[in-house]
Every structure is written in C-alpha cells, then in structure tokens.
C-alpha cells in the first residue's frame, strides 16, 4: 500500500523529511502512521487524510495523502 506523507513545520526536523511516498507492508491507522514516521506520540498533532482532519484511529487507505502537523494557533 502506497501513501504520501507530508510533515509540517517542526515535524519535518523530527521526522527527517518533508514529504515522501511510503510503501507500507500492511494496514495502518493515522496514529500508527505518525509513530511509524517517528513523530513523538506525546506531541500534540493534527492529522488530515486527503484534506480532512481525522482521529488517530482512522484507517489509512492505499493512495491517501496524509498530513501531520504541529497544532498551530494562528500566531
């Protein structure tokens, strides 16, 4: 299963990449994917799948674009 993962802001430096296509061995949830790309589980994040916010338990599907971001507050 292929998914595109985009990290935002400081997560880029934590995960070590900005955007890449990942080949996943099997099904994963959004939270599991976040941990898989080495984002600290304690860090509050917001995850979107194909432009819509999802919870950590949301199942990721083949071809999805997943964006994981630090929680911003509008400056």
């Amino acid at each position: 299963m292929k998914v595109t993962v985009k990290l935002i802001g400081p997560l880029i430096y934590e995960g070590g990449f900005s955007e890449k296509v990942l080949e996943l061995a099997g099904p994963m949830t959004a939270g599991e994917l976040s941990a898989f790309v080495r984002i600290d589980r304690k860090r509050p994040t917001i995850i979107t799948r194909n432009g819509r916010a999802v919870g950590d338990d949301e199942r990721i599907n083949d071809g999805d674009r997943v964006v994981i971001s630090h929680i911003y507050s509008g400056g």
Partner: protein, 612 residues
C-alpha cells in the same frame, strides 16, 4: 499602588504643553492596562462623531503592570485611537523598547492630543518632554527615521515612528518601532501623521514599582528560561509562524487571489521550509524568548523580515509565489509604514475589481513589480487608484460600486488576515466578532474546529471557543501587554501570568479576575461602536458576502462546493451573543453592562443610542 506607576503623561501638540496625571488604584484594577486603559480613556475623552484625523482625536500609548519587567515576552506596547479606517475604537500592539523606557520614565500610559503645526517628534526623558523639529525625517521611510533617531538618542531608546503612509493619512498606516515591528492596523499611524507627529522617543531611568521585586525577578527569569526551552524543544522557531502556510494550503484555508481560492500548487515556494532556507537573520521584540521575525534578502537585496500574515497576504492573496518578491513588497510596506495585511488585501481587492469589471487599471494578479509601484502610490496617495486604495478596500468598493463590496475582504472596514474561511465557520465568526474589525489576533480556532469539533459545525461549542480565546488573547494579553506566543504556540502555562501580575502588584488575582476584566474591555469597545454607529445591527458582524456565495466555492478538492450558510452563520452568531450576554444586535445588554460595572459608560452611550 504597586505594579503600576500610577501616572499618565498627557502631551498637547497644539500648545506644546504636557502634564503628569495620576490615576486611582480603582481605575488600575478595573482596566488593568494596555487595551483596557486605552478603551476607557478614549471612551471618556472623545466625543462621538469626531473626525479621527482631526486634532480632537487622541493617540493613546498604553502599557500594563508587568510591561517592561523582564518576564516572557513583556516588551510590547499598545497604541490606540479612534480609527480612521473603521470609524470607532481601534488599537494594536507592537514590540518596542517603549515598553520598558516609558515605565522607567514613570508612566503607564501616554495620551497625545491636539496637532503640531509642523513636523515634530517628541523626546521624553523621565520628567522632561521636548517638542523637536522632525523636518529632516518628514517624507522619509521608517528605516531612515529609526537610524536618524538612534544616532541622536542612542539605540536603547524606545521609539515609535511612522513612514510616508502615516504622514499622508493612509487609513491603514501603522506605527513602527524596531525594524520589523509594526502595530495599529486600523490606521493608528494615520492618526499620528494627522498630528504631524513623526516619532516618539522615550528614555527612563527610574525603577518600575513592584510589590515584591525579588519574587518578580525570580519568576521572570525562570519564566524566560522555561519559555525559551519550550520553544527550543518544540522546534517552533525553525519556521516561526510561516509553518502554517503549508498547513493552510493542505486544509483549504489559504488566501489565494483575493480569497477566491483556498489552495495553490505553487504555495510551497513560500512555505516555512523555503523561508528557513532563505534566512539570513532572526529578530524578536525586547524580552522575547522565541524570535519570530525571519529575515531574508528581498529581490533588491535588502533585509526583509517576514512572518505568515505578511507572506500570506502579499504572496498567494495576490498570486505572487516568489519569496524574494514577497520580501520586497513586505520591505516597502514596512518602510512606508503600511499595514502588510491590509496592503495585501487592498491589492487583492484591486486586482479582483479589475478582473470583474468594477474598475479599470493595469494591475494583474501575480504582477509583483506593479504591486511595488502601487504601494508607493498608496503610501503617498499618488494618482486616482493610489489615493482611493489608501482608504482601504471597503471605502474603495463603495466608490467602485457594482457589488464590489461583496469581495472587499474585511469586517467593519478592517481587512481580514490570511485565513480563507468560506468553509471554516468558526473562524469566520472569530473575524466577524473581533473587537476592532477583521483581526485574527483575538481568536484563532481553526485547528480546534478541525480536530475537536466538526469543520461543518455551526454549533455553540465554536462560539464558546471564540469567547474563551478572546478572553485570553484579546483580554489578558492585550491588557497585560505581553506577547501571547509563549502560551499559544509552545504551551507556556497561562497560570504563570497571574503569578507575575500578583508579584508586581501585590494583589491576589486568579485567571477568573482576568476573564472579568477582559469581558469588561470587550463590552467597553462595543459601547464605542454603538456610540459611533447607533443604528448598528448584527449584519455588522458578518464576514464578506462572497464567503456565502456558491459561485465562489472551491471547484475541486475536499471543500468543493462548500461556502458559509447564511442561516447557520446567523445561528452561530446568536450562540455567541447569548453566551456573551449581548442583544440581537450584538450589543451588551444593560444586565451585562451592570454585571461588569459599566453603568456610567452605559448611561453615556444611552445618550446617543438605545440599550436593551
């Protein structure tokens, strides 16, 4: 009284006099400082209906009881006046050494009234005030003025100054301080210019009175260390506020082409990664723990300090996707003393009005070079377009007609910041009910909407969140006159601020005391509005019509076809009014005003308008 100096400096530019006036502890505790002081002073001292650009308007510079004391991000100052852009109370805050210097000079606020008969600048040193000739600075930009002042008065002086935009009474002219810092979006710089006041320079040598200086020092130093550590641990400063650009682009909240679109394939060229890569320096305000001003070389090789709002509005909002060109547009705004958010919104509106046939002109979206020329024309009110656009998007729309006000992206005349909310109802409400017009600083709830509510919800939880944040951001931080970033961006605990306040004042406040003071401040500003606009209606709290227009919906992507729904927005607005204790017009009821101790102010407002 401890914490506050207990004095206000009143300066009259017409007759070149000044006096030191005391205020009571009751006044101090009721209004706290900053926005609270300014809103109360201007309500008491300005008659409704005055010309905001006439000598009868007053400029207030206000600080709070922890301003200027070393503690997380306390180096800020509030500037306020009757706004020439919106026609009622307007304010803004900016980082400046004025914060510490004015307090050391012995004042918590300054009221500047009248108007000089020639370009003047004020030099305040403790108990001395000089009215100095500003002829050599008049007509020059803020970078020149800053250097001029530093040479004459030293680099540690507190400085507030204006550029050509303020001199020429551009209605969205700001006041500038250090390089890269600006405040007073609703034309407070134009008020300063109308008084022929080019700059204010402040130096003080006294001790800032504190109830427990040892405790304050301990808490302040610990706080500075902790807030800095939190920033470093989070990595926030790597991209500063501009990290949100990429996110807005992903979730369809980016302002593109005068907010017609919500995302753009070239947005990545302006994102936080690119900004961080181009960084040549980083600047912050005095006492700052998390410098947000990432500086790059602009197209012409000058240093330009950028953040998300100015990139968003001078970049995608006018379809410019070259970071160096955005830097150039930003540099010119800073030098001329134009508000970058309004400048981007006005250029976007102009491009849109041309495309839609409401007016004629040779500016096209994406034309950064023409944008640069237009910024000069606006700052100097040169030519028909420059002179008209200098009055802001809404006033220009009223001249253009042809329903162009529908896409003038403002609320109450103040252009909105860089969040495109046609499919984000809660943030649209936050713009609609911001105290001074379409500002983002008081409540920003987009991540809350997406993560903890539902994007499409118009439920009471969103109104509650807007109020919660207004109390914190527009209340506590604007009254204490401290930067909200350590709390809002990296999680420095809010509970620290009552501790600072109590160490400085000797009082025993909790956050609840601040929420009451904040609600009082918001109600006070609403009374300003009612007094200036007795026929106020709830429609005044609506965002622009284009956000409700199906023809303006996204044509692709997850928000395809989605715009704000009129009836649902109105019900969300009602949730806000109900929770606030406001009437159907969005004006505090008598019961609410009494609860907040505003009976006298209510009686004053009732002379010109009805209260429920």
């Amino acid at each position: 009284m401890k914490g506050w100096t207990g004095y206000i400096l009143r300066v009259n530019l017409t007759d070149k006099t000044w006096k030191k006036e005391s205020f009571t502890e009751e006044f101090a505790q009721k209004w706290v400082g900053g926005r609270g002081f300014a809103a109360k002073i201007l309500f008491d001292e300005l008659k409704p209906g005055i010309d905001p650009l006439g000598p009868e308007n007053k400029l207030v510079v206000a600080l709070g009881p922890i301003a200027g004391i070393p503690a997380p991000n306390t180096g800020k100052v509030v500037v306020a006046a009757k706004s020439p852009l919106t026609g009622f109370y307007g304010d803004g805050n900016l980082g400046s050494n004025v914060s510490s210097q004015l307090r050391k000079a012995g004042y918590d606020a300054m009221i500047i009234e009248g108007a000089a008969d020639k370009p003047t600048y004020l030099n305040i040193e403790d108990d001395k005030v000089e009215f100095l000739d500003a002829a050599e600075m008049w007509g020059k930009g803020t970078y020149f003025s800053n250097e001029y002042i530093y040479k004459k008065h030293g680099k540690n002086s507190g400085v507030l100054n204006i550029g050509q935009a303020g001199e020429n009474k551009v209605l969205f002219a700001v006041i500038r301080s250090l390089e890269g810092r600006a405040g007073g979006r609703p034309g407070i710089g134009a008020v300063m210019g109308s008084k022929m006041l080019k700059a204010i320079v402040v130096k003080g040598t006294k001790q800032i009175p504190q109830a427990d200086p040892e405790l304050m020092r301990k808490l302040g130093i610990e706080g500075l260390k902790k807030a800095h550590e939190l920033d470093q641990a989070s990595g926030w400063s790597k991209q500063s506020t501009d990290a949100v650009l990429a996110w807005c682009n992903e979730v369809n909240g980016l302002p593109v082409q005068n907010m017609r679109h919500t995302a753009h394939p070239e947005a990545w060229k302006l994102d936080g990664e690119r900004l961080n890569d181009a960084r040549i320096a980083t600047y912050g305000c005095p006492s700052c723990t998390m410098h947000c001003g990432i500086t790059i070389h602009d197209k012409e090789g000058r240093e330009s300090e950028l953040d998300y709002e100015n990139i968003g509005m001078l970049g995608p909002n006018i379809n410019v996707f070259d970071l160096k060109q955005v830097g150039s547009l930003n540099y010119l705004c800073d030098d001329y003393g134009l508000d970058t958010i309004s400048a981007g919104a006005v250029l976007g509106f102009y491009g849109d009005a041309i495309e839609r046939g409401a007016t004629k002109g040779d500016f096209k979206f994406g034309d950064a070079e023409k944008g640069k020329t237009l910024l000069w024309d606006i700052a100097t009110r040169t030519g028909e377009a420059g002179n008209l656009l200098a009055d802001g998007a809404l006033k220009a729309a009223k001249v253009y007609g042809k329903n162009s006000a529908d896409y003038a992206m403002q609320v109450k005349g103040l252009e909105m910041a860089a969040y495109n909310c046609k499919s984000i109802p809660g943030q649209a409400l936050a713009f609609g009910v911001a105290a001074i017009g379409g500002h983002h600083r008081e409540a920003w709830i987009i991540t809350f909407e997406l993560k903890h509510s539902k994007r499409e919800s118009y439920g009471p939880e969103k109104a509650a969140k807007v109020i919660e944040l207004q109390r914190i951001r527009g209340g506590l931080f604007e009254m204490l006159v401290a930067c909200r970033f350590p709390w809002v961006e990296v999680g420095y605990e809010l509970e620290n601020y009552p501790k600072f306040f109590n160490a400085a004042t000797g009082l025993d406040w909790t956050l609840d005391n601040f929420w009451t003071a904040a609600d009082r401040g918001y109600a006070m500003i609403k009374l300003h509005y009612l007094r200036e606009f007795p026929a106020a209606t709830r429609k005044d709290d609506y965002p622009p019509a284009v956000w409700f227009d199906k023809a303006n919906a996204d044509t692709e992507g997850p928000q395809k076809g989605v715009v704000l729904e009129h009836d649902k927005y109105d019900s969300l607005l009602q949730h806000y009014y109900d929770q606030r204790g406001y009437d159907h017009r969005g004006i505090p009821t008598m019961e609410t005003l009494k609860k907040l101790g505003l009976e006298a102010e209510a009686a004053e407002a009732a002379k010109v308008a009805s209260l429920s």
